[in-house]
Each structure stands twice: as structure tokens, then as C-alpha cells.
Amino acid sequence: MAKMNLLQAVNSALDIAMAKNDKVCVFGEDVGHFGGVFRATSGLQEKYGRARCFNTPLVEQGIIGFANGLAAQGSFPIAEIQFGDYIFPAFDQIVNETAKFRYRSGNEFNVGGLTIRTPYGGGIHGGHYHSQSPEAYFAHTPGLKIVIPRNPYQAKGLLLSAIFDPNPVLFMEPKRLYRAAVGEVPEEEYMLPLGKAEVVKEGTDVTVVGWGAQVEVIEKAVAMADKDGVSAEIIDLRSILPWDVETVAKSVMKTGRLVVSQEAPHTMAFGSEVAATIQEKCFLYLESPVMRASGLDTPYPLAHEKEYFSDHLKTYEAIKRSLNY
């Protein structure tokens, strides 16, 4: 075990994947010698050469189109989009190509080797073009897997699974935690399952669901609720697509209450899907409506970042609303 921050954990996973399989390539804007604007790819070009870790021209649609082709050829491209906010020029390649490659060819071809890494989320004074949480746009796309880790240990194990999973994976990294989250991480290879949620803390009164950086926010809110004598169960979805309905439903059948806390704007954020599914699966077990703490239905503002953000206080209030309904 070693102490690593989230960036070091990502770097370690990339390093292991590149060492393990010569067909793993890492590329994107500034990821070469410089090691990426966040330094997630530091040292990889020196270790594995410019042919396998390289800078690309500044064109996101090109990066993902190139990655689709490389994956179709049988390689394991790990393409970095510098910020989740800049992924949209590649939307066509991801939604119409990556996600449908296997399906449209009747499995003659696939891009299962592809992993797209991108930092997402706010809380870094980034304004609306360096703060967005665009996971819901992609969650509407069958054929993709979407994975969001909450800490260094999860990041490494989930990223290694994502890289070698036989399906294309969008791997969204909580950039607010890149250096802030530090934890014990095994130096060797290990994998964590995709599509499986994790019960982070067991509880009996209310289930609180989140993913990525929001899990930390939830933990803070739950600690506040704990002082009120509330026993909350925390679930980290880890995968948004496909997501682990069973684990959440099982928890809600036990607690009778569900709160989803999410960074993205309220309307049509992934919590909407969680709420709809859980009321179908657990209707007779629910003691109160599913509550959501979300961002506002506005772009992510700079000056009003704190006001927009679904912080621990808003999450705590949502927990109370669920309990006092």
C-alpha cells in the first residue's frame, strides 16, 4: 500500500495498464511530455515512448474519432478530454459512433477497448466552462458505460477495470478531489467491478445516494444528521451506466427513505432516473417521496458558485425533509 492522491492513483492505473499490454495507448491535449494539465499522465511518455503516449492536436472530435478507429483496430486507446466541459465537440463520435459501433455492425466490429477519461465537476472557481457535470447527457446513451470514482482507491481499481472492460467506458474524474483526496492505494494491479454500487456506510433511517465527489459532501451531511440521531446509509453508485438498481432498492426497502445528492442541474440529472426507478421498485416501502439535492437549473456560475452548489448543508436539509415529511 502507498499513500496516493487521486491523480497519482489514476497515473498508477495507466502505468500498470501500459506495462501489461503493449496495445494500450494514452493520448490527448498536453498529455505527452508535460503529463497533462493536471499531471495525470506524468512520466508515461518517458517510460513507454512517444508512440504510445502522445500529445494530440487540439480537436476533441478528432481525439475521440481517432480513438474509435484505434479501438476498432484492436488497441486499447485511453483518450483524455482535458475538461468534461470540452467533450461536446466529440459528442457525435461518442453518442453515434462509440456507443453504437458493436450494435450497428452486428458485432462484426467493436470499440470495446476504448476508455475516455475526463475531469468533471465544480468547486474550483472554474465558472461554467470548467465545472460542469455532464454525465446525464451520456447516461441517455445505451452502449456506453459511465464510471465515476470517489477516491484514489476507487479511481485506480475502477480505471483498470474500465480499460480492459470489453465495452467502451466514459471515466469521469472528480477534479476537485484530484489532489484533495488522499488515501491508501495498493501499488499492484487490482480491479473493482463496473456496474456495482458500494454501501459506504450502513444505516437504518434513510438511504443517501451519490457518486464521485458528491459522496464526500454526503458524508459531511450524514455526519450532521448523525448528531440529530439519524442513522443514514450512504451508497456510492460508482457506475452511472449501467447502474446498480438492486443495491439501492435493497437499501431503500430497509430504510424506507431515499435522498439523492448530485452536482448537476436539477432537471434531468441522473438522480431523476434513480428516483423514478426506486419509486417503481420500492413504492410500498417508501415513507416519503424521494428527495433530491441538486445544482440549480442554471449554468454553473462563478461568483455564485457556493449558492449554486448542492453542498453538505443542502444535502442535510434534504435528509431532514425526507425524515420530516
Binding site: 498536453d30 472557481h125 461554467h128 466552462y129 440549480l296 442554471t298 455564485h304 448543508l313
Partner: protein, 394 residues
């Protein structure tokens, strides 16, 4: 019938492979690095008043960049982007067009905006995201914009303004007015699909656009030779059937003259032009960047010797329009003004929380109003957690 501008395809039985670098464009330069004029070169007609305005604007931007970079390091603002070394490219080009022409910039053309009349106070209010920021504190520092100054508000995603410029200029053409659109971007942004879309559409629709590429050698850490394999950006115009000029971006007279000619072509001939201004990003990409990780001091020094402001200053001094002493005095005056406005701007409060839902649509939706009401109630409950707005919701 073949259009005049579309060449017909000739038939040949000889297999012809066009060399990759068939188009190799020279760089137009009037002022040498030492500030003297090339023999036989004809300078554009620039009055003393205009020359001094351009120079003063260059000085102001240099000072602003230096102070605000420092302010970011002191934690007073969250972010800054400097245009050090590229002042001639933005100021020389903005000076060569008319005030009513639209400017669509990337994020390193504060010189063009200052030339248009954006005041020190305007700059500071945006940089501090306070309630007097025209953009209502919504965007990161340096994302300026002003309708009154015909300067489109800056967006962070790279290259998105390029096809927008084609559309804007097409509208100008439809209105039959005599104005064009000047759109700035870097050589990195020229890799985006939007660049291709924008240039192609402007050429097809003969929109009066001046596409102005600042080739400053770097896209964050990525050097130009990893960005493209061709002879820079200018030769791409040929592929779109568009005229092109390559100019020394550190020579303010060459930039001015090139842009003047591009404007003439855009409006008199009625077609877009691509200008590639060769320069160097002497600063890091932004305050989040450290160039020592990807380039040498020696390389940077070479470009210090080509400094566009010193080059222009030498010419002005030789002409008798400026003295070293006066230049230093002006710099001090700019410094005083910047520091004064900086201190003022940082005490002005953030926009009222009610602004959080405005301008998403022309009027807020019912759901947004409901969210704002809940937010205000929440802030009243936990005022200490929301110091920027708590005072406004009592």
C-alpha cells in the same frame, strides 16, 4: 457555368503529386527587430495621435497583465491569462478596423478590447466578478464582452467563435452595411473542427470576415510542431478558396497594414481573408500553467529580443514622437490607475443572489423561481456559509 473564383480542373496524362509544402507563405514585416524600417518598405499611414494611442494601449495591457498575474498569485483573483508578447497582434489589428466592425475574440486579445475603450474599471469589475461586471460575475476572469464596444463576450471553449463569425458577418452583409467581423483565435484552436466549418462557410457565402490567427507557438504545453505538420495556418486558406496573409505579429505596423488590406478585401471585394500573425506566447498559458515544464529559458529569451512593444517604442523615439522618459512616465500612470481601480473593484460586492437565475432565458421559469426562493430561505438559515450573498437576503 463556372464561378469566377472557382478554377476549372485541367486534364493531364502526367501523374502529378503535389508536394506537401507547395504553398509556403512568406511573413510580411515592415519594422525590423531593432525598430528600423526595412529598406523600401512603405509604412501604413498612421497619424501621431493613432500611433501614440496604439503605444499607450500596449503599455496599459502589459502593465495590466503584470499586475493581475501578481494579483492572482496573491489570491485576490482566481485566474488570469496574460497576453505578454502578443500585444501588437491584437492592438494593431483592432486599430486597423472601424469601431462598428464586430470583434469576436478568443481570450488573449485584451489589447483589442482596451483599444476599443474598455476602461480600467471595466476590466477590474470583470476580473473581480463583482456586481458591476457587465457579465454579472458569471464567467472566469478575462472573459470580457461589451455590446456597446462591439466586442462579443468571450467563451472558453476553443474555436466556437470561428463559425459564429461567419454567420455574424453574413448578417452584416445581408443588412448591406459596410462592416465586417474580425475574429481572433490561436493556432491551437485552428485544429478544432469549428475552424474548418467557419472558414469553409465564410468562403462559400462570401461573408466579410477577417479570420485572425495568433500563431504564438504554443497551445498550453503543446508546441506548434505537434499541432500541425504543414506550413502553419495561412496556407489552409488556399484549400477553402480564400485569400491569406502571413504577417509578423510582433510588428505593429505590419499587422495594421495587413488588417487594413484584409478589411478592404472583405468589404470591397466581398470575401473573407485569413491572416496568420506569427508571434510567441511569452507568458504561460494562464496562471494555472508553468512553462518551465516544457520549454527553455533560451527559447524564451530569443523572443524577448523580438518584443513588439520595445520595437514600436524604438521607432516612436527615432521618429521623435516619444521619449524614453515619457514612456516611463506613461507606464507609471497606467500602474497608478490599475492599482487604484483594483483596490476599488475588490471591495464592490458580488452580484445579488437574485441574478443567479436571470438570463438563462429571457425570463426565469417557474421552477427556477421556486429554486431561488428555496435557496434564499436556505441562505437565511445558514448565512455564514454563503458570505457573498447573505447580506442581500436578510
Amino acid at each position: 457555368m463556372t464561378k469566377e473564383t472557382t478554377p476549372t480542373t485541367k486534364v493531364t496524362s502526367t501523374l502529378t503529386v503535389i508536394p506537401a509544402h507547395a504553398v509556403n507563405i512568406p511573413m510580411f514585416q515592415l519594422l525590423k527587430e531593432d525598430g528600423t524600417v526595412h529598406k523600401g518598405a512603405v509604412l501604413p499611414e498612421v497619424s501621431k495621435e493613432l500611433a501614440l494611442k496604439m503605444f499607450s494601449t500596449m503599455q496599459f495591457i502589459r502593465l495590466l497583465d503584470e499586475r493581475m498575474f501578481a494579483a492572482q498569485r496573491q489570491g485576490r483573483i482566481s485566474f488570469y491569462l496574460s497576453s505578454l508578447g502578443e500585444e501588437a497582434a491584437s492592438i494593431g489589428s483592432a486599430a486597423a478596423i472601424e469601431f462598428e466592425d464586430m470583434i469576436m475574440s478568443q481570450y488573449r486579445e485584451q489589447g483589442a478590447l482596451a483599444f476599443r475603450g474598455f476602461t480600467v474599471e471595466d476590466f477590474m469589475n470583470q476580473l473581480f466578478s463583482n456586481e458591476r461586471d457587465l457579465g454579472k460575475g458569471r464567467q472566469m476572469p478575462v472573459h470580457y464582452g461589451s455590446a456597446a464596444l462591439n466586442f462579443m463576450t468571450i467563451s472558453s471553449p476553443l474555436g466556437t467563435q470561428i463559425p459564429q463569425a461567419a454567420g455574424y458577418a453574413y448578417g452584416q452583409k445581408l443588412e448591406g452595411n459596410k462592416n465586417c467581423t474580425l475574429v481572433y483565435f490561436g493556432e491551437g484552436a485552428a485544429s478544432e473542427g469549428d475552424f474548418h466549418a467557419g472558414l469553409n462557410m465564410a468562403a462559400v457565402f462570401k461573408a466579410p470576415v477577417i479570420f485572425f490567427c495568433r500563431n504564438n507557438g504554443y497551445a498550453i504545453s503543446t508546441p506548434a510542431n505537434e499541432q500541425y505538420a504543414g506550413d502553419g495556418i495561412a496556407p489552409r486558406a488556399t484549400g477553402y478558396g480564400m485569400k491569406a496573409i502571413r504577417v509578423d505579429g510582433n510588428d505593429i505596423f505590419a499587422v495594421y497594414k495587413a488588417t487594413q488590406e484584409a478589411r478592404r478585401i472583405a468589404l470591397e471585394v466581398g470575401e473573407p481573408v485569413l491572416i496568420e500573425a506569427m508571434s510567441y506566447r511569452m507568458a504561460g498559458h494562464s496562471t494555472s500553467d508553468d512553462p518551465s515544464g516544457y520549454r527553455t529559458k533560451e527559447e524564451e529569451q530569443q523572443w524577448h529580443n523580438k518584443d513588439p512593444m520595445l520595437r514600436f517604442q524604438k521607432w516612436l523615439v527615432a521618429k521623435g514622437w516619444m521619449t524614453e522618459e515619457l514612456a516611463a512616465e506613461q507606464m507609471e500612470a497606467h500602474k497608478k490607475a490599475v492599482l487604484e481601480e483594483l483596490k476599488k473593484a475588490e471591495t464592490i460586492p458580488a452580484p445579488h443572489v437574485d441574478e443567479i437565475i436571470t438570463d438563462v432565458y429571457d425570463t426565469p421559469t417557474d421552477l427556477q423561481k421556486e429554486q431561488l426562493a428555496a435557496l434564499k430561505e436556505h441562505i437565511r438559515k445558514y448565512p455564514e456559509a454563503y458570505p457573498a450573498t447573505a447580506a442581500g437576503v436578510k
